[in-house]
């Protein structure tokens, strides 16, 4: 296990190097001039020239890259051109917000998705199965943007139960934090719950028809034990991978949901930075996201081994 871990961690280095080159290279392909984008309406040529010099935008691509990598290796991700704040500070501000939202979304989608998937598999070809499938189809096909606005109007404007948008940290006020994040987390988790339900259903159906389940039943075990202990445990392996990958996707920023609910997370930061050509922020956020994604993948592999003892050898 330790060797496996060490190997995987070493693989991180070339992966991250390639990722950093790609991030930097792709950004150069973006049309538009960062100095011009930053200047807004104040497009005086002399001032623009000064900004280009100040942020080394007048230097060749590889020089800019070397400066950036040098900074990253010494723990400095640069400074936002637009906000004059260190990129690390911005990431430290946004990451917990997005993490909270992503975790809540994952919990919601796992709860709904796995429960519904198991129910649907156990009650195969019954009205319950059809109903669950119909709801899942609705979940997959509903655009987050639309659902978000509808929920805001229902719960904030008409019923007045929840705040319309915004974010409060759970360390500041736990209940208010839950109130502000429950709708966006539901919107985020909604479509993934549907995907999870479909996967759980098919994995469970496969498991339920396998020999060990027949043996378990033949032993006279209660159906509940057969389903939850024998079938579900095996069916969970692909679900864990899916969950880990989805968490990675959610951490890279749920752009539309954060935009609708005005949640100051990664998604909003990336969008604003791309539109303002705030290169340092885009690079920093993408690098951190890529690293997180790779680490989550690694965690999923470890979780496999823990769930399925056969993989331990």
């Amino acid at each position: 296990m330790l060797v496996f871990l060490a190997k995987r961690l070493l693989q991180l280095i070339p992966t991250l190097f390639i990722v950093s080159v790609i991030i930097f290279g792709l950004q150069q392909l973006l049309p538009g001039d960062p100095a011009l984008a930053m200047a807004g309406e104040e497009r005086d040529p002399q001032v623009l020239e000064q900004i280009r010099r100040q942020y080394r935008l007048d230097q060749p691509f590889y020089i800019q890259y070397l400066y950036w990598v040098g900074g990253v290796l010494s723990g400095n991700l640069g400074e936002s051109m637009r906000l004059k704040e260190p990129v690390l500070t911005l990431i430290a501000q946004k990451f917990p917000v997005t993490l909270q939202l992503a975790l809540m979304a994952i919990v919601i989608s796992l709860t709904i998705g796995i429960t519904a998937g198991i129910m649907s598999a156990v009650k195969r070809d019954t009205p319950i199965d059809y109903a669950v499938n119909l709801v899942a189809l609705w979940g997959i096909s509903t655009p987050n943007f639309w659902l978000g606005i509808m929920l805001i109007f229902l719960f904030a404007v008409h019923l007045g139960w929840l705040p319309a948008s915004g974010y409060v940290s759970p360390f500041q006020d736990f209940w208010l934090s839950m109130q502000t994040t429950i709708l966006p987390a539901f919107v985020l988790g909604n479509s993934f719950a549907a995907v999870l339900m479909r996967h759980t259903r098919s994995a469970m159906l496969q498991a339920m028809s396998s020999d060990y389940v027949r043996t378990a039943r033949a032993k006279g075990l209660a159906e509940r034990v057969v389903v939850l202990k024998h079938a579900m445990r095996n069916a969970l392996t692909p679900i864990v991978t899916l969950g880990a990958l989805e968490l990675g996707t959610l951490l890279s920023g749920a752009v539309l949901t954060e935009q609708v609910f005005s949640i100051p997370g990664f998604g909003k930061l990336i969008v604003d930075s791309v539109f303002n050509r705030d290169y340092a922020v885009v690079q920093g956020v993408t690098l951190i996201t890529a690293t997180t994604y790779i680490l989550l993948n690694l965690l999923a592999d470890i979780a496999y081994v823990l769930i399925n003892p056969r993989l331990r050898s």
């Binding site: 004059k84 904030a156 100051p264």
Partner: protein, 504 residues
């Protein structure tokens, strides 16, 4: 019974006391996230909304765009126009307790003029030197006379910062700005909120009745309005014109509207590059025909419920500098076709119209496409992300470009940089020696009537051959809770809370 009455009276008193001492917080929904809160480095319109509460300026504007004193008391310009003496308001303090005096004004102006990356440099380019005449008098020595100078000092160039805080923070001043406005900076969480609180030592503190302001950027206009309606916000800026009926119908909401100082229009490429010369640049009659093919009133009716003002000049018809001699032209398709024919154009004339990607401008572009199509223009809309479109415009890779300008207090700010030969934002590539000369003359003249006479000549010329087709002027729409009393909207669309009271 008597005990009960006493208890009730005591409870009433308590409630009365608590409401009298209750903190009033005004939560304002902004359409974008402001950039850095440093008057020298700031460049966005939305940032100016926050500055209006945070940093007082030497001068301000009133409801009729007249310049009025703020941190200054008066100003005087010598006959040759090259020395401007500004008397300062006594007893003004910055948020850090330092005194606002002539030395602080000199330090702020010099920071604006010399700091690396300062966006105020071009605004103060006419100033050669700043001198302290006495603790409450500064003297600006100009390189040449420049009549828009005082107007420049009504915006960020006129904001005075605590010299001590600015020297200590350097280019990080914007992370914790220290000025002399009615509210002082408390905290900012990027893209989430900016919190300000009442500054008790403000020079006009008696007229500030709100204790705290929280600015929250909410980009989606529908969500901004939903927040206002649900009571999560007390005020929103730049509500959509199409939301006006809903706001008016809500008894809990009030509206404050004002025509913008800027304009919305289409810049046409007449001399910026060969691409342009192949279309509008061939003959001025093509631009005239394009102008006549458009029904500006119909544009504002279809896209904005008729709430915006049709326009044809760089200031709105309600601005004192509007030239009423040249009213908004009526649509005349027959004449437009005639002009195209006279210009020797074979129709349909294909035009590439670059449109920044935003729902409102896209809709206007589609209406323009349909209208101009009837006169013989084949408009091809190219929706382009904003930063990219600016670069395309700068390099002349377009024929027509839907580009707006938020406007400045002085008309020079809406005209000079767009029409002067090779000026930074002359994306149309317009060049005319007479217009160049007149634009310079208007910068030297003082009185409104004299300047207006010069602008009349420029307007006449630009309407027949200029490179901007002005379409309409937006209404700056501020919606707020009915609990906010005494709020007055100024023409720049910014939010000033002097005199406004928020009922609990």
């Amino acid at each position: 019974m008597k005990r009960l009455a006493i208890a009730a009276a005591a409870a009433g008193l308590l409630i009365g006391c608590s409401s009298a001492f209750a903190q009033t917080t005004l939560r304002v929904g902004l359409a974008e996230d402001p950039d850095v809160l440093d008057p020298t480095l700031a460049r966005t319109y939305v940032g100016r909304i926050v500055f209006a509460s945070l940093c007082d300026k030497l001068f301000d504007i009133d409801e009729n765009v007249n310049i009025v004193p703020q941190l200054a008391l008066s100003h005087e310009t010598t006959e040759d126009g090259k020395t401007v003496t500004i008397k300062l308001r006594p007893g003004v303090k910055f948020h850090d307790g330092e005194a606002m005096d002539a030395a602080a004004v000199k330090a702020s102006l010099e920071r604006h003029m010399t700091m690396q990356g300062s966006f105020r440099k071009p605004e103060l380019a006419a100033v050669d030197k700043v001198e302290v005449a006495d603790p409450l008098t500064v003297r600006l020595l100009l390189k040449s006379p420049f009549s828009p100078l005082i107007a420049q000092l009504t915006d960020r160039a006129g904001m005075v910062m605590s010299a001590k805080a600015a020297a200590e923070a350097g280019d990080k001043f914007g992370l914790k700005p220290v000025c002399a406005g009615p509210f002082k900076f408390v905290e900012r969480v990027q893209q989430d909120r900016i919190v300000l609180e009442k500054f008790p030592d403000y020079w006009n503190a008696a007229n500030i009745h709100v204790d705290r302001i929280v600015f929250r950027p909410i980009v989606e206009s529908t969500v901004r309005l939903a927040n206002l309606k649900s009571g999560s916000l007390e005020m929103i800026e730049r509500a959509l014109a199409t939301d006006l009926p809903e706001i008016k119908a809500d008894a809990k909401l009030r509206l404050a509207t004002v025509p913008e100082l800027g304009y919305q229009g289409i810049t046409v490429n007449i001399g910026k590059s060969d691409v342009g010369k192949a279309a509008f640049g061939k003959d001025p009659r093509i631009i005239q025909a394009f102008n006549l093919s458009l029904d500006r009133e119909a544009i504002t009716k279809v896209a904005f419920n008729g709430e915006f003002l049709p326009g044809n000049q760089w200031v709105s018809p309600k601005n004192p500098y509007y030239q009423s001699k040249f009213p908004v032209p009526k649509r005349d398709i027959a004449k437009a076709k005639e002009l195209l024919k006279a210009a020797g154009v074979s129709t349909p004339l294909s035009i590439d119209l670059m449109v920044p990607n935003n729902p409102e401008t896209r809709q206007v572009a589609e209406i323009v496409q349909a209208m101009a199509g009837e006169a013989g223009f084949d408009i091809k809309i190219r929706v382009t992300e904003f930063a990219t479109s600016l670069k395309e415009a700068e390099e002349g890779r377009y024929q027509a470009y839907m580009l707006a300008w938020s406007g400045r207090v002085d008309p020079d700010g809406n005209a000079y940089i767009f029409h002067k030969t090779k000026a930074p934002q002359n994306y149309g590539g317009y060049s005319d020696p007479d217009v160049d000369r007149w634009l310079d003359e208007a910068r030297v003249q003082g009185p409104l009537a004299d300047r207006k006479a010069i602008y009349e000549k420029i307007t006449d010329k630009l309407l027949s051959e200029g490179s901007i087709v002005y379409l309409y002027h937006r209404l700056m729409i501020i919606a707020h809770t009915a609990k906010l009393d005494g709020y007055k909207q100024m023409p720049d669309g910014l939010i000033r809370l002097t005199g406004a009271k928020l009922k609990p």
